[in-house]
Symmetry: C2
Subunit: 189 residues, 2 copies
């Protein structure tokens, strides 16, 4: 659980007693490569924190083409947030890209912790705010940059992704064809 404590303590400081209480709401799970945590239509009641590995959140369009909404590497949170907040079934697939280890917490327990401990509410407000900025940056990148620039931005911001994620997933995240991405890759070699 130390990794989770370190993660919280990047934003708030916690006593042993406080962290012990917080961690009592988390459970641990190992997920094999290509194993699903969520599938489209599933009920969504948890949020997932990646200890190691990588989870991808994606949708399939009407032609069964994959579009990747997000990757979660170590130290990131993920879930189908829209489903979680609106109590609707999952509209995404959440799948392990590589063998992955997670901690997860039920949404009602997270809300309880936030209500009981002001500093935990502060922690999640800050995480949400940073997540919001990350998505805004991605939207700007999609609006203003071509495939080559988006690829290079991603490589610069998240080099770890390129160690872990297959090319076809990177293409599905960047919104470019596999062929376009291969051209960009080969120019880098």
């Amino acid at each position: 659980m130390q990794v989770l404590r370190d993660h919280f303590e990047k934003i708030i400081s916690l006593t042993d007693t406080e962290f012990s209480y917080i961690s009592s709401f988390f459970r641990h799970r190992k997920v094999m490569k290509k194993q699903f945590i969520l599938q489209e239509g599933d009920p969504v009641s948890h949020e997932y924190f990646v200890v190691k590995g990588c989870l991808k959140a994606y949708v399939l369009d009407s032609e069964d083409k994959t579009h990747i909404l997000s990757f979660a590497l170590a130290d990131w949170w993920t879930s189908d947030y829209q489903a979680l907040y609106t109590h609707t079934p999952s509209s995404i697939f959440l799948e392990a890209v590589v063998p992955t280890e997670i901690y997860y917490i039920a949404q009602e327990d997270k809300e309880r912790l936030c209500a009981e401990m002001h500093k935990v509410e502060h922690f999640w407000r800050k995480k949400n705010a940073m997540g919001y900025v990350g998505l805004q940056r991605r939207i700007l990148s999609m609006l203003t940059h071509n495939a080559k620039d988006r690829y290079e931005q991603l490589l610069q911001q998240y080099p770890a992704l390129f160690q872990v994620v297959p090319k076809q997933d990177l293409a599905a995240f960047l919104g470019v064809s596999r062929e376009t991405l291969s051209r960009l890759y080969s120019k880098k070699m």
Copy 2:
């Protein structure tokens, strides 16, 4: 200030004394059509709540083409959040689309309110969470839908935008050309 109180009370309940304290940190301003609240390079220290009207947040690319990151209609918050959180100069322009009325609060006062009043921190955590989901939905829409579908989604989700925002701004938000949008419009007529 009643509109601001109503807005907070959609998520938290407040006594008169509490709201009076919160509102003491807000200031009011009227902005003319096409007037800037932020320009690229400006220091960013406030968050803006739209009472009526509409603000657009946009960037200009290297060819001076406009890309719209977001619109804020009545009851919405806006700012350059990346700049606000990282204490960097604005990378966006924030401009009134029509005559607009706002309340605004300094980031340090917002942080102070969040630290002093747990329920205010709760309010902003919830707002951030909803904002995050909105951006995720937009990214999915950009990845999975063509211009026509994105246009129709926007029309369905935010019909008020179409009353207020000129066609060229809608095109710059959807990431399509003015001509494509005009074709979509004419099909609706």
